[in-house]
């Protein structure tokens, strides 16, 4: 495995739907997108509805043809059938052949990905165990619930031990226990050096499992970075105290804003200067500080802020 080439590399990629006879007009679903996903990362693709996320994923998998630009997976052009053998994909709203049993489907997709019979003998029970579907694997897929189908979808994406896995809404329809299992599977894939590319609306899930994310709005990449970079500090600090003095609010006076007391201390909005002042006041009163935590926006808040700003910018 060549670890130096990125798992996903996109340069100036565009997709325009419904172009006229002479190439004009149409809807630009992806607009001059450039991004790179390193090997072994768990990468999140975020964006509001219609941002072009699914179109990007489909172009990466050869399901849609780019209008312009270039995309490569694991160093090879996306149309290369051999490179697709190293890619696993769980689409959103998938529909698997209803006439197959779980085992038959895994064997079919495994063989389509070039797995030999011996390998499948080993892999089929392994992945069924991994997604918790061992007991139902001999039933026809048409008999499965949505959550069970989603688990089988994950299993078929993993059957051929891919180097890159693209998951489109992987926890859609899965119960909380199942979600935790999916997170665990993603974590174990990461530990094995597999690159995971997740397209999801569930930002809490993304925040929990992704190393890096990009945000797309109207076909363009508007933000890219690690989770910490996308979730800036919001100026609020959480103080943990050894014991909470009864006159705490009086002690701090009118310092900061949005004061909230809690069992072990308090939370307040402070500027940098006010933070020093706050520490000085507490220490001068003999209050022992156990910890100070600078609060950040969660991913959902950051995402909403970002999208709103983009949409307002676009409207102007």
């Amino acid at each position: 495995m060549d670890r130096s080439t990125p798992a996903v590399s996109v340069r100036g990629l565009s997709k325009v739907y419904g172009r006229g006879l002479f190439g004009g007009g149409g809807f630009r679903a992806v607009d001059e997108l450039t991004l790179e996903v390193g090997r072994g990362q768990v990468f999140g693709l975020l964006g509001p509805n219609g941002a072009g996320k699914t179109t990007l994923v489909k172009m990466l998998l050869g399901l849609a043809r780019p209008t312009s630009g270039e995309a490569r997976l694991l160093g090879a052009p996306v149309g290369d059938a051999l490179v697709r053998r190293k890619v696993g994909y769980l689409p959103e709203g998938h529909r698997f052949p209803p006439y197959l049993t779980g085992v038959q489907m895994l064997r079919l997709f495994g063989e389509m990905c070039g797995c030999e019979r011996d390998k499948l003998e080993r892999r089929v029970p392994e992945v069924l165990e991994l997604v918790g579907m061992r007991d139902a694997a001999k039933r026809k897929l048409r008999e499965f619930s949505k959550g069970m189908t989603q688990r089988m979808g994950l299993a078929q994406a993993l059957i051929h031990e891919p180097e890159l896995i693209i998951l489109d809404e992987p926890t859609d329809g899965v119960d909380p226990v199942g979600r935790a299992a999916v997170r665990q599977i993603v974590q174990s894939l990461k530990e094995r050096g597999v690159t995971v590319f997740i397209n999801s609306h569930l930002l809490q899930e993304v925040e929990l499992i992704c190393d890096r994310v990009v945000v797309m709005v109207k076909g363009k990449l508007v933000r890219e970075g690690a989770i910490e970079e996308l979730t800036p500090r919001n100026g609020r600090y959480r103080f943990e105290l050894a014991s909470v003095p009864p006159n705490l609010r009086v002690l701090l006076g009118d310092l900061g804003a949005g004061f909230e007391a809690h069992e072990r201390g308090f939370e307040v909005q402070l500027s940098d200067a006010e933070l020093d002042q706050c520490v000085d006041l507490l220490r001068a009163a003999g209050v022992s500080i156990r910890g100070i935590l600078a609060r950040r926006l969660n991913l959902e808040q950051a995402f909403i802020q970002l999208v709103k700003a983009q949409q307002q910018g676009g409207a102007k």
Partner: protein, 472 residues
């Protein structure tokens, strides 16, 4: 694409077929003819149900004539069974095409449905291979049904009626061939519309249109053939009908000739079963496949001189028997009646009507005393335009006493083909008669196969081209 992928796609096609409710219903229906022939046996002594209840003991002779001997009954039985099987298979041929199309037209649209397509087309298998696998699944569907249908009929007839007819197995490839072009169209409609209902409807609408155009072409082609062969001046045609004839010719060249499946199977069977005939005369359209049983042809004898002669000594020793066929030019139509009348007067015996090949004539039978010797004489008279064909059988009493004498005579003359001269043949020819490996292009079996295969290839290529341009 490696062997594992091909295996996987074929296995997937198989699973898709056997899971299909339409397939399972058709499978049961297609077992019925086999079951029928297993439960109902057709024998010379009647139609039997479950080998126990005898129905219609005189079904072969219909009780109208004196029952012929066993050999003739067996020949009759074979003919009747051929008719029954042809009718049963004819019904199922049409039935299979319509229902199989209805049952498999969703294969391609289902593969292209949102969600399903994303899974399948993201795999490292070309769109062409996936498209082809669905086409093969349809062919597998019909092949399995055809094997069940024909296997059942052949086995049923064999086990219950003792009539083993392996040539019926040719119907299997004929059915699949007929279906292959319709299925290619249905796959194309499936890609173009991505709707199962639309694909079924369009294909079912296409079937009678295609059938009608080919039937019109066949009618035109035969009429043209007859006109050319009869040296008749071409009838004046309107510009519209001339244009229509050209359209039909063009459509015949490019359209799928799925109706030729049965004809090709027949032509192929005939070619494989072909044995050099004993004697052929093109002017009379006379073909004699084999010498009469136990007879040797006189090598120097000639039809239009002293007559074509076969001789045989009696197997137990003693006198000879002779078959002689002679053709003589006659001056007028109706010579047959005059000769028959004269012979009747001379011999004092009545003649009976007879048919040799496709032509009606008269048959005489009498005993002739030659010195001490009594001889059995038979004579057949047939007129073909300005030629009178006389067939003479002259045998010693020892021959006449043989039990199978009549059967041998019937077997020999009954196997002739006498179709008359080229003009008569042309006048009475049907498209089926003219369809042959070496016929002119309108009736040519090789051209039919090649252009149909080309059509299938074109439909598949168009489907693949459209599929390759779809953004899922």
């Amino acid at each position: 694409m490696n062997a594992a992928i091909v295996r996987a796609l074929l296995r997937d096609a198989y699973y898709q077929v056997v899971d299909n409710l339409g397939f399972r219903i058709l499978l049961v229906l297609f077992l019925l003819p086999g079951l029928f022939f297993l439960l109902v046996s057709f024998r010379t002594d009647g139609i039997w149900v479950v080998g126990t209840w005898q129905l219609y003991p005189d079904w072969l002779t219909n009780g109208r004539t004196t029952p012929p001997n066993t050999a003739a009954l067996e020949q009759l039985l074979e003919m009747q069974l051929d008719n029954i099987v042809d009718n049963v298979l004819g019904v199922f041929d049409l039935f299979a095409s319509v229902f199989a199309i209805a049952a498999v037209s969703f294969f391609v649209p289902q593969m292209l449905e949102r969600g399903g397509a994303d899974v399948v087309f993201s795999k490292p298998v070309s769109r062409w291979a996936l498209y082809l696998s669905r086409y093969v699944a349809g062919l597998a569907f019909v092949s399995l049904l055809a094997v069940v249908l024909i296997g059942g009929v052949v086995s049923g007839l064999w086990l219950a009626s003792g009539y083993f007819q392996p040539r019926l197995l040719w119907v299997v490839p004929a059915l699949v061939y007929g279906f292959a072009s319709l299925h290619a169209i249905s796959c194309l409609f499936g890609v173009l519309t991505r709707s199962s209902i639309a694909a079924i409807l369009l294909t079912v609408v296409f079937m009678p249109i295609n059938y009608g155009l080919h039937k019109a072409f066949e009618k035109n082609a035969v009429e043209q053939h007859v006109a050319e062969a009869s040296d008749k001046p071409a009838e004046p045609t309107t510009a519209a009908s001339a244009v229509f004839a050209v359209v039909l010719d063009v459509y015949h060249l490019i359209g799928p000739k799925n109706g030729d499946g049965a004809r090709i199977a027949k032509a192929l069977r005939e070619r494989l079963d072909y044995v050099e005939p004993e004697f052929v005369d093109d002017e009379l359209g006379l073909t004699i496949d084999a010498s009469p049983e136990g007879f040797q042809r006189e090598p120097r004898s000639a039809l239009r001189q002293e007559g074509l002669t076969w001789l045989a000594p009696h197997p137990a020793g003693g006198g000879e028997a002779t078959w002689r066929i002679k053709a003589e030019s006659v001056e007028r139509a109706g010579e047959l009646s005059a000769v028959s009348k004269a012979l009747r007067k001379e011999l004092g015996v009545d003649s009976k009507p007879t048919i040799i090949g496709e032509i009606t004539g008269r048959r005489f039978e009498w005993t002739e005393q030659r010195g001490q010797e009594s001889r059995l004489r038979r004579r057949w008279l047939v007129q073909v335009n300005d030629e009178l064909l006389t067939v003479d059988y002259d045998a010693e009493a020892a021959w006449a006493a043989r039990e199978d004498s009549e059967r041998m005579a019937r077997a020999f003359t009954g196997a002739w083909r006498l179709e008359g001269d080229a003009k008569r043949r042309a006048r009475t020819a049907s498209y089926d008669d003219l369809f042959a490996w070496d016929a002119s292009w309108r009736f040519n079996a090789v051209l039919s196969i090649l252009t149909t295969l080309l059509f299938i290839a074109l439909m598949l290529a168009l489907g693949w081209w459209k599929l390759s341009r779809i953004d899922f």
